[in-house]
Symmetry: C2
Subunit: 208 residues, 2 copies
């Protein structure tokens, strides 16, 4: 079982390799990678060794090769289709963010229950469907990840609809604990908790 701390590091390594590849660098050692991006060389070797043999003795890593392997490990070698539940303030901001598409995540659709939103779209043209259409649309097209951006009281029922539609990965923004079956991966982002951890440091007079 690979921890989220590990997958977050893999994402960081991928960004570094994207930069090196764009700069035309062919090979790099774990030592040089660590120094250039302020990482830990031993941790890089340990993380990568878990997934296979990528380094070449005396050479280091081939940048293009390692980048392709990391994209495969993270599942980014295919186009991931994301749907957003809730076409409100947050849902619409996420829908129109060009950064997701650049990293291989396509925002396929928004879903809502408000009649005045259904049938319209975000400023960037992502369509807003009736959430009752989620299941038939999910059967027709493949949806890999669902983002939950509905008010807290609606979150659990909406998550149940997402799971019933066969979606196995959920990024949740609504506060409160959600229940999902074992085969579904749920990641919650609680922005208030992030603010509270900053407030803690201010209150304790601690430094970063």
């Amino acid at each position: 079982q690979v921890s989220e701390l590990t997958t977050n590091r893999l994402s960081v390594y991928l960004r570094c390799l994207n930069e090196l590849d764009a700069a035309g660098v062919q090979t790099i050692s774990s030592q040089a990678l660590a120094e250039q991006f302020r990482l830990n060389a031993a941790q890089i070797r340990k993380d990568l060794a878990y997934f296979g043999e990528f380094g070449v003795r005396g050479v280091g890593y081939y940048v293009k090769d390692l980048r392709r392997h990391l994209r495969q490990i993270l599942g980014l070698d295919r186009r991931l289709r994301v749907v957003i539940m809730g076409a409100g303030n947050l849902g619409l901001a996420l829908a129109d963010y060009p950064g997701f598409r650049q990293e291989g995540f396509e925002i396929a659709a928004l879903f809502d229950i408000a009649n005045e939103k259904i049938g319209h779209g975000s400023r960037g043209g992502v369509p807003i469907h009736d959430i009752r259409e989620l299941k038939p649309l999910a059967r027709r097209d493949r949806f890999d990840i669902a983002v939950i951006a509905v008010p807290a009281p609606h979150a659990q029922p909406v998550v149940d609809q997402v799971i019933a539609a066969g979606i196995k990965a959920i990024l949740n923004f609504s506060p409160g604990a959600l229940k999902v079956p074992a085969e579904v991966k749920l990641k919650s982002v609680d922005l208030t908790v992030s603010l509270e951890s900053l407030s803690f440091y201010l209150a304790q007079g601690e430094t970063g």
Copy 2:
């Protein structure tokens, strides 16, 4: 040095106590708290013991007391003023989110460089100022936390302006590594990395 994992748990305990207080519960043991909210009783005792003597032998914790102590530890016993750099898609969605105010975070102002935005406000009435006014406004009013919601190439210069204005805690949404001096606490939320960790689980066929 208290880790972010610990402060995140303190936030979770505070939410549990808010719920118990609202339900009129007077006292609770660490055991009952763990069972009711699916937490770990030993971890609760260890976390709280670090900050002081809160439990009473044979009784457990007084709910109102512990809630007040946790708010104090997290620095929520005073009103925290937050400013948002970048009145774009994300900045405006964050500015109008009522959940922050409910938890004690007041969104005081937005700052931007675009002339067509300066002098206006978010839908909820948060004013948009010229970022060149940040330093004089920060001297007049207290700003505790700055949120960074500007495009990546502008993030480091904007962070430098925030630090020059005397703000010591930063919640950053723009991708890429930012440099801050030791006395400033920086927390970055990278939504693409969150999506990549979900993609990893889908690719590995693992379960949560």
